[in-house]
């Protein structure tokens, strides 16, 4: 066993040392694998960042109530009557005066100019009350102050200020015929709420001609995650055609909007992997052909065919591992922390950050090793089956 092991180590080291003879071809195969890994990791880190941004917005403490079948806040409409009925349902936490803690909110779309492309895109504007502010635990004003009820004042999320132009503190912005003053900047710890503008709900109702209607109601649950009381109320009252989810579930569902993007990333990576695989196969077949007399000589001396097999396979794995490392490092350097925005579930822009994780990086390395394993297996098989008589043929 020791002998076999030392044979394999010897052949592997010889193969690695002979790489300079095949420098350009080996480099091309390695870089092809690096590109595949980098592309995959870019897609996965984008999806990871988007998912975390949305999931970070939701908690189990709060339930979100929308019109049945609306799927998103933008499509939902709730009359004031419905809000009054549902907020009396059991399972909602009460304040010191025994009043249910809830926030009836509006959600409208306004125009913003994206800094990177200088194009006009949809950004969300939310009408909330002080209770709505309090319901969101990580929210804090980082610059300026909270808007005053009854005034055309807005506070802008940190991502909005970063990604879109014109929302600096003190700026006046015009949406339609109304002008608003940016009086504060708020942060929610990087969640999707940071991609929103917030204003007083009653002012928004008036300026956007929404009458007494709202779009969503957020309620603080008396027991985190338990929405049974609310669901029973909806079931028992035919006037209530509502969907009820915890905020955590709601945003998780929204986050799945990029599920297709992840699939596309994998499909693209697999297709590109086939190209990289062809490169790896070609490189390794050439490596075996170039070394066939050396392999046969070692076999003639008494080295086993197992050492020839593993020597070639490990060479392939080393090249692919190198490609994997280059790809992950490149993806990490160029993608991790990159901030961008894309269309979210409400047809509005959600700013998010590409986020690498150790799991994602491991995925890149595993993909590279799979390419190396498949790309090396068949040439290694050939190396193991080379006739020993080749040692006696040809010149050096």
């Amino acid at each position: 066993m020791t002998s076999i092991f030392s044979q394999i180590i010897t052949v592997v080291m010889m193969n690695i040392r002979s790489l300079p003879r095949r420098f350009w071809m080996s480099l091309a195969a390695t870089l092809a694998i690096a590109v595949v890994v980098a592309v995959l990791l870019s897609f996965l880190s984008m999806s990871n960042g988007f998912r975390k941004t949305l999931e970070g917005a939701g908690t189990e403490d709060t339930a979100i109530i929308t019109r049945s079948g609306s799927k998103s806040e933008l499509n939902s409409v709730l009359s004031n009557d419905v809000v009054n009925i549902i907020t009396t349902a059991p399972g909602i936490a009460k304040d010191a005066n025994d009043r249910p803690i809830y926030s009836a909110e509006l959600y409208v779309v306004v125009d913003g100019i994206k800094r990177t492309t200088n194009t006009k895109v949809n950004i969300p504007m939310r009408g909330i009350s002080q209770t709505g502010f309090d319901l969101r635990k990580n929210v804090k004003i980082t610059e300026g102050r909270m808007f005053e009820p009854g005034k055309n004042e807005i506070i802008a999320g940190a991502s909005i200020q970063r990604e879109f132009s014109g929302f600096e503190l003190g700026n006046r912005v015009k949406f339609g015929k109304t002008t608003w003053t940016v009086v504060g900047i708020f942060s929610t710890g990087g969640s999707a709420f940071e991609s929103e503008l917030w204003a007083d709900a009653r002012v928004l109702q008036s300026q956007f001609r929404r009458g007494n209607s709202f779009q969503t109601v957020r309620v603080l649950l008396s027991e985190p995650g338990n929405i049974d009381g609310l669901l029973k109320a909806v079931e028992d009252d035919p006037r209530l055609m509502l969907d009820i989810q915890t905020e955590a579930d709601f945003f998780k569902e929204q986050g799945e909007a990029l599920g297709g993007m992840v699939k596309l990333g994998w499909i693209l990576s697999i297709v590109m992997s086939l190209g990289a695989l062809a490169g790896a196969l070609n490189t390794m077949y050439i490596s075996v052909t170039e070394r066939e007399q050396e392999i046969a000589t070692l076999r003639a001396i008494g080295f086993s065919n197992i050492s020839a097999f593993f020597g070639t396979l490990v060479e392939s794995l080393v090249l692919s591992l190198l490609g994997g490392i280059i790809g992950t490092v490149a993806a990490y350097l160029f993608m991790d922390g990159l901030t961008t925005s894309t269309l979210g579930g409400n047809f509005t822009q959600v700013a998010f950050t590409f986020e690498m994780s150790s799991d994602l990086l491991m995925n890149g390395i595993i993909l590279a090793l799979i390419i190396g394993l498949v790309g090396g297996f068949f040439p290694a098989w050939r190396a193991a089956r080379l006739p020993v008589v080749l040692a006696f043929r040809g010149g050096a």
Partner: protein, 231 residues
């Protein structure tokens, strides 16, 4: 002086098919090689001498007959058994040296010892002894690509003898060398045969090279014509 029988080929045949045609290299070939022999095998191209060397070295198998080595039958061994048998009993010297270009001289010589249970220290000692025997102690750390053809062939000889095999098989060992260097290499083989009792089988085209052997076998169309030489 030659000793007991080392090799015994009994009714060996070798043929292969090329397309629909069956080509016979040997048919019912019988020969024996004694311990301590220095045998040169000569013959025109296509006479079967390299095929015979392959059969003797266990890198090819006969299609008929039996090959016995040191009273053990070897033609029916599996690939892995043959590899072990070669490692224990045979040293190879090739026309084009077949050294590993990415290893230095002593690493090349050490290769057969990696198949043994010798410790690194013992391996180093044996390698040094083999390098000294071929007169290359001072070039042990040199890459073989930096060496002349004659020096490379001496490294190959050191590699062939380092594990102390019973038999050394040489395939045109001087075919790539000038006359003077060829004579040095052949003298070295003769020394190994006379002083160290190594059995040597050498395939060559060169009658001058054959003169160093104790006996010469002429092979023609798969059949032997033996010719004794003055040793």
């Amino acid at each position: 002086m030659t000793g007991g029988k080392l090799y015994d080929l009994r009714g060996v045949s070798k043929s292969f098919t090329k397309g629909k045609e069956k080509i016979t290299i040997f048919n019912d070939l019988n020969m024996s090689i004694s311990e301590g022999d220095f045998l040169a095998i000569m013959g025109p191209s296509g006479s079967g001498k390299t095929t015979l060397l392959n059969l003797l070295g266990g890198v090819d198998k006969p299609t008929g007959g039996e090959i016995w080595f040191d009273d053990s039958r070897v033609d029916n061994l599996s690939e892995s058994q043959l590899a072990k048998w070669r490692a224990n009993n045979i040293g190879f010297i090739f026309q084009f040296y077949n050294l590993m270009p990415m290893l230095n001289a002593e690493r090349n010589v050490e290769l057969p010892l990696l198949l043994t249970k010798l410790s690194a220290k013992e391996r180093k000692k044996n390698v040094a002894a083999a390098m000294e025997l071929v007169g290359l102690s001072d070039r042990a750390k040199h890459m073989t690509s930096e060496m002349s053809g004659g020096q490379q062939q001496r490294v190959a000889i050191a590699r062939a003898i380092v594990s102390d095999p019973k038999l050394i098989l040489c395939d045109e060992p001087t075919g790539d060398l000038d006359r003077k260097t060829a004579d040095e290499i052949l003298s070295m083989l003769q020394l190994l045969n006379r002083e160290f009792g190594k059995t040597i089988v050498m395939v060559t085209h060169d009658p001058s090279a054959a003169n160093y052997a104790k006996r010469v076998l002429h092979l023609d169309k798969g059949e032997f014509v033996e010719k004794d030489l003055v040793a």
